[in-house]
Amino acid sequence: MALELKSSDNKIFEVEELVAVQSETIKSLVEDGCADNVIPLPNVDSKTLELVLDWCKNHVDMKLDEEKLKEYEDKFIEVDQAVLYDLLLAANYLNIKDLLNRACQKVADMLKGKTPEQIRETLNIVNDFSPEEEEEIRKENLWAFEE
């Protein structure tokens, strides 16, 4: 059975149910009988949705071949930061556990060696510590700031 998914930029994707239900969000819609018409996904653009559906399809196709799947996953997640973030948010919204896991791990690996300043810049975070407060925290774990 095929389902129709509509991205935020109004592109329609026709997908087999077996592939689409890798998303727990879509799976619940199907189980509740709400999947007869086109399913709107206002939080995922077409570029990202295409990638996500590729992930889902390959996970159905390569289910029995662990090695091949791992090779695919490793290649899949090698994307630039902006795409990675879109995938992360999409995987969260669509509730696709293995993609979410993989994307979170990749982001974690990306953040691992950074300084606090770099983290703030990357994630758009405003520093709400006063210089004295920040210095206090640094002093508590000085060794963590050394290489």
């Binding site: 939080n43 948010l89 974690a108 990357t122 920040e134």
Partner: protein, 411 residues
């Protein structure tokens, strides 16, 4: 990053609010849209402790999160279930300097081993000589040594470099004694969520008539919650003549500490039986488990497939791994597999998960052998000491758990 750009996107960082969806617009520069709180947690949980401590400076909410007991438990749980490439702590001796060292392996940084140096921080200043290291529980290890001139223990989290001192000369029941001939254990009582340290004091008595040495062991347990030592009396062990083995082949498994010892049962009995003496941390009871006679000549206790196991070696270049399929049932010892043919290997140290075995070769080099793929990996040692003899190893999982302000626990 201009203010106008911030107000154009409708995704904002909000503390305390769960966002399942957010409208995102890709920015053309390096800056990325802000993450919802729950996703941020999922990412932070995967970070090593050192990064998390550094990131406390990023923002107030991050500092709070890193110290939150629920997050700490989640972080520990994530790293405990990650079974690939575990980190190892190896305790050993520099025979020339006659000093003990603790080495840590760094599988994510090229796979070498380095000395875990705590001399620089506050604990190092207290601990002048350390002698033994025990099980890693929730990221915490227990070290016995000399603190401020007295013998004591430190419960230490090497990842956050914080610990708690447990002196034992304070208790009136514990006589001061030499460090050799003492046996210890570190464990966790899951029923009362309490960390415990066990101390065994061995007394020897040579019986004049049949010149059999009788061993009388006194047992003391320290409870972290109660902050005191109590002596355990009246256990069946006291009626048995058990000499605990002085080699480092004990193991802490499933809330129970296991020592290997000799049981000298009857006068006129010509040989000693090798046994396991176990101590259950929750119920505070001892049990004796016997080995089959064919476990000869050398044994190291280990864990395999969530069961108590025993690595038997010493006859040839093969290593037998026996598993006690049903815990406590002596008939259930089963030979699970044979590892080999390993040339140049002196002895096994520990099983890592079900796939790898840590060994020491003739040159005292640490070697990792993958049972399935038969791949051998040498753990390169960098830095001091010049000569290092590994004695025991445990799997080490990092955590943020500390002892200040409430005990964080995880089973």
């Amino acid at each position: 990053m201009s203010q106008s750009k911030m107000s154009n996107t409708s995704s904002k960082w909000r503390w305390g609010r769960r966002w399942r969806s957010c409208r995102l617009r890709l920015s053309s520069n390096n800056n990325l849209p802000s993450l919802p709180e729950e996703l941020l947690e999922e990412i932070l949980v995967r970070l090593p402790v050192k990064s998390l401590l550094r990131f406390r400076c990023v923002q107030k909410s991050w500092s709070t999160l890193v110290q939150n007991p629920t997050f700490i438990a989640k972080h520990l749980r994530h790293h405990q279930t990650k079974t690939k490439n575990p980190s190892i702590l190896v305790e050993g001796l520099d025979k020339i300097e006659d000093l003990q060292y603790l080495l840590q392996s760094h599988p994510d940084e090229g796979g070498g081993v380095r000395v875990l140096d705590f001399k620089g921080d506050s604990m190092g200043r207290l601990l002048t000589v350390y002698t033994k290291m025990f099980a890693c529980i929730n990221g915490i290890i227990c070290i016995a040594g000399i603190l401020r001139g007295h013998y004591g223990f430190i419960l230490w989290n090497p990842a956050i470099r914080k610990g708690k001192i447990i002196p034992y000369t304070q208790s009136p029941n514990c006589p001061p004694d030499a460090l050799s001939g003492l046996y210890f254990a570190f464990g966790f009582d899951q029923n009362s969520n309490d960390y415990k340290v066990v101390r065994v004091v061995e007394h020897k008595k040579k019986s004049a008539e049949n010149s059999i040495t009788r061993y009388c062991n006194a047992f003391y347990v320290y409870s972290l919650r109660a902050e005191c030592w109590t002596q355990i009396f009246g256990t069946p062990i006291h009626h048995n003549n058990i000499k605990l083995h002085s080699c480092c082949n004990e193991i802490y498994f499933n809330g129970v500490h296991h020592w290997i010892g000799f049981l000298n049962s009857e006068p006129g009995d010509s040989y000693d039986h090798h046994i396991i003496l176990s101590f259950d941390m929750s119920h505070e009871v001892f049990q004796i488990i016997r080995f089959p006679d064919m476990f000869f000549p050398n044994k190291t206790l280990a864990v395999f497939n969530d069961c108590l196991a025993c690595i038997v070696y010493g006859i040839n270049e093969y290593i037998d791994i026996w598993v006690m399929r049903e815990y406590g049932v002596e008939d259930s010892w089963t030979k699970q597999l044979v590892v080999g043919h390993l040339l140049g290997i002196q002895r096994p140290l520990q099983l890592l998960g079900n796939e790898e075995i840590l060994l020491v070769d003739e040159n005292q080099t640490l070697v990792l052998y993958n049972i399935g793929s038969q791949e051998i990996k040498i753990l390169q040692r960098t830095g001091y000491p010049k000569i290092f003899m590994p004695r025991r190893a445990i799997v080490y999982v990092e955590s943020l758990v500390s002892f200040t302000g409430g005990i964080v626990f995880e089973s």
